[in-house]
């Protein structure tokens, strides 16, 4: 890198020249901006936007991926999808994951954040422990818990035997297996949300809490009327991550149950993988993608309408 500059610095210019120069500068600015933005725009368009648009397009075809799609089937893929019992259960399961993330995981994370936000050595250690599952891969987490839940060698089985019960085979029970997935989701992600809250809590000025205490507010009152409103930005973002994350849940499901037993634990994405990708039903799988996309858009609209509103 040479230090020589391309423009002579501090050269005085006439007015006309200055105006022309300004226009030229505006042009060159746009050109420069274009140069800076080109790689990102290209990548983003090619690998995000176009595929999403194509998913909508392909979803009207029956196509195995060879050649170009020619077999236009109209809404058939969607009809098949909405009459598919496994998809119905996959959608229900996904909504359950969303619900548990919001109603169980977030309050748990908030409560723990209140407990460890104060700092001190013990708190730091607990924070580290709670956050640890988040950095471990979903696939590894799923396998770890498959072992824990295993009816022959797992921890739960051993605990049951020690207490004199028949060991349960949770992963092989179509009615129970989905709860194992919910448990692992909470295990994996509560620490992440807790950290968001810890960061939010640390931004609340101490004086505010003290003032509330002086005013004779009970702990619940000070939580409800001082801390919670101040924490709202953090809660808001944690809601966003939890819902978008839940909607695309896949990595945990595959190692844990693979969607089984008897297709009882599919999520929308694992359904798409199993019935679309592994069989190269491009049209059908794309229809699932479109439904997922619409769910994400729907959530965003609700989010903007009800969650972001309170700030504006």
């Amino acid at each position: 890198m040479s230090g020589a500059s391309t423009l002579p610095a501090g050269v005085a210019l006439g007015t006309a020249e200055r105006r022309r120069g300004r226009r030229r500068a505006a042009l060159s600015r746009t050109a420069t901006a274009g140069g800076f933005l080109l790689p990102a725009t290209l990548l983003f368009t090619l690998f995000v936007v176009l595929p999403v648009v194509e998913a909508a397009w392909y979803s009207f075809y029956r196509w195995n991926g060879y050649g170009t799609p020619t077999n236009w089937v109209g809404w058939r893929n969607y009809e098949l999808l909405f009459s598919n019992a496994v998809f119905a259960s996959a959608a229900t399961n996904t909504m359950m994951v969303v619900a548990v993330s919001l109603l169980l995981q977030l309050p748990l994370a908030l409560w723990l954040a209140m407990l460890v936000a104060r700092g001190g050595r013990g708190s730091t250690i607990f924070r580290t422990i709670f956050f640890l599952p988040y950095v471990l891969g979903e696939v590894a987490a799923g396998l770890i818990w498959r072992f824990i839940f295993d009816g022959n060698v797992g921890l739960i089985a051993a605990a049951a035997r020690a207490l004199g019960f028949e060991p349960p085979f949770l992963l092989a029970d179509p009615d129970m297996a989905i709860y194992t997935i919910l448990a692992v989701v909470v295990w994996k992600y509560f620490g992440f949300h807790m950290m968001i809250y810890v960061a939010g809590l640390q931004d609340i000025p101490r004086e505010l809490k003290e003032a509330a205490a002086i005013d004779g507010a009970s702990r619940w009152q000070s939580f409800r009327y001082v801390i919670l409103p101040m924490l709202w930005p953090a809660i808001r973002i944690s809601i966003f991550f939890s819902v978008v994350g839940s909607l695309q849940l896949f990595d945990v499901v595959m190692p844990l149950t693979g969607g089984g037993p008897s297709n009882a634990t599919h999520t929308v994405v694992s359904f798409q993988y199993t019935f679309g990708i592994t069989r190269m039903n491009i049209g059908f799988g794309s229809a699932v993608g479109v439904v997922l996309f619409l769910a994400c858009v729907g959530f965003t609209l609700i989010y903007r309408r009800f969650v972001l509103r309170e700030r504006d």
């Binding site: 195995n64 991926g65 060879y66 098949l80 496994v86 295993d150 009816g151 022959n152 028949e166 060991p167 085979f169 992963l171 092989a172 029970d173 179509p174 149950t257 693979g258 089984g260 037993p261 008897s262 297709n263 990708i277 592994t278 069989r279 190269m280 039903n281």
Partner: protein, 420 residues
């Protein structure tokens, strides 16, 4: 940076231009469903071929059954698609032919090569009179038992020849506190194997062929309903290991090999997997290990020596180099297949190679298979990827009580009609 780039380009150019000097072909070979010993042997066969043909290299991928089926569909779409792929024939293969994925090797295989193989096995890898691969081995579903455990429950193995006798045996085993069956319910096809065997016993080959041809009520007809009801009789006795829906086929094989269950319905490869999957790598002692054809059902229309089974081999994909076909010829040649038979890996499709079988059980099964009146290919493979999956799902759903026998046929028929 630029200097580095330029030299890199130069190097690549040099390498490319000098390539023809030692032109090499890499054969990409996808193998599934084998025991570790078989894999070692297959790699050795490839090594020997490579020694004789120094211009050939191998790129071998080995995957177990279910992951293989999942991965194959996407692999076949790649530019670097595998050249030789493991197959079960049937509707999955037909779909691959229709997608233009396979290479027609009819002209290569006709003549001495085809003559060295069982004719039926070659036909199994054909579609509309054209051949797309070469068979390596044949399989057959049987009822395997552990003689010692049966004896403990006072069950005579011969009583297992009929369905009712087998149900009675299950009751006795349960009463004696012995686990009757193990099944890999999470893979689903092991359960479908039982249902398909029952369907064959009840309706014979006609029922299935009529359903495939979309005549009559198809899978919604009385034969398949009867098969589902018979299966339900077994299910109601709770014959399978606890948590069977969470276990894979290899895990279920291991439980049998460990001597923890008395029975299993499985293909003949089970002779090996129950050993390799057992904790001590020994499996059930030879003296205790026995097999019978799948039980007969009252009033069934099948000949008693009709069996469910299949042909496995390797298909040649479009764009595969001639060397791949030549290697396949070498691999399926009698001399090579005899080695596999001697080591007891499988029942070869190569004529006469089966005589080299040393393993008692495999010898018996091979003999039975060679006299079979009709070999019904596995339903899930015959029905093609989508419907086959539904068939497997219904068997698992029935086994766990999520659907009724009547729904089984209905669901398969619905899926089959959608395929039109």
């Amino acid at each position: 940076m630029r200097m580095w780039l330029r030299s890199a380009v130069l190097c690549t150019a040099l390498m490319v231009s000098s390539l023809p000097a030692f032109a090499q072909t890499t054969i990409r070979w996808f193998i599934s469903e084998s025991t570790p010993e078989t894999t070692v042997w297959q790699r050795d066969v490839a090594r020997r071929y490579q020694e004789a043909n120094p211009n050939v290299r191998f790129n071998i991928e080995v995957m177990s059954g279910e992951p293989y089926k999942a991965k194959l569909t996407t692999s076949l779409q790649s530019n670097d698609r595998p050249h030789l792929i493991y197959t079960w024939g049937g509707g999955v293969m037909f779909a691959q032919v229709e997608a233009g994925l396979l290479q027609d090797i009819t002209d290569r295989i006709r003549g001495p090569w085809a003559d060295s193989l069982n004719q039926g096995a070659v036909e199994a890898l054909s579609y509309r009179g054209r051949v797309y691969g070469a068979p390596s081995h044949q399989t057959m579903v049987a009822l395997f038992y552990n003689r010692r455990l049966l004896a403990q429950a006072g069950v005579e193995p011969e009583s297992l020849r009929t369905w009712d006798g087998m149900l009675e045996a299950v009751r006795k085993l349960r009463a004696a506190g012995i686990q009757p069956f193990s099944a890999g319910g999470s893979d689903k096809w092991p359960l479908n194997m039982i249902w398909a065997s029952l369907s064959l016993r009840v309706g014979g080959r006609q029922a299935f062929e009529a359903a495939l041809a979309r005549t009559g009520q198809g899978f919604n007809g009385p034969d398949f309903l009867r098969a589902s009801e018979l299966f339900k009789q077994l299910i109601d006795l709770q014959p399978f290991q606890r948590g069977f829906l969470g276990d894979t086929a290899p895990q279920a094989a291991g439980q049998f090999g460990d001597g923890r269950v008395a029975l299993q319905v499985m293909g003949n490869w089970f002779v090996n997997t129950q050993r390799t999957q057992s904790a001590n790598q020994q499996g059930v002692p030879d003296a205790d290990f026995g097999w019978l054809p799948f039980p007969e059902v009252p009033g069934g229309r099948a000949a008693s020596n009709d069996v469910v089974g299949g042909v496995n081999g390797f298909l040649v994909t479009r764009g595969a180099p001639p060397e791949a076909v030549d290697f396949l010829r070498f691999y399926t040649s009698p001399a090579v297949q005899r080695e596999a038979a001697e080591r007891g890996f499988f029942i070869p499709a190569s004529r006469g190679a089966g005589e080299a079988l040393q393993n008692r059980m495999l010898r018996e099964i091979a003999g039975y298979l060679s006299r079979a009146a009709y070999v019904q290919n596995f339903y899930d493979q015959m029905l093609g990827p989508s419907v086959g999956r539904v068939a497997n799902d219904t068997s698992a759903d029935l086994a766990v009580g999520r659907i009724t026998p009547r729904q089984v046929g209905r669901l398969i028929q619905d899926a089959w009609e959608l395929e039109r």
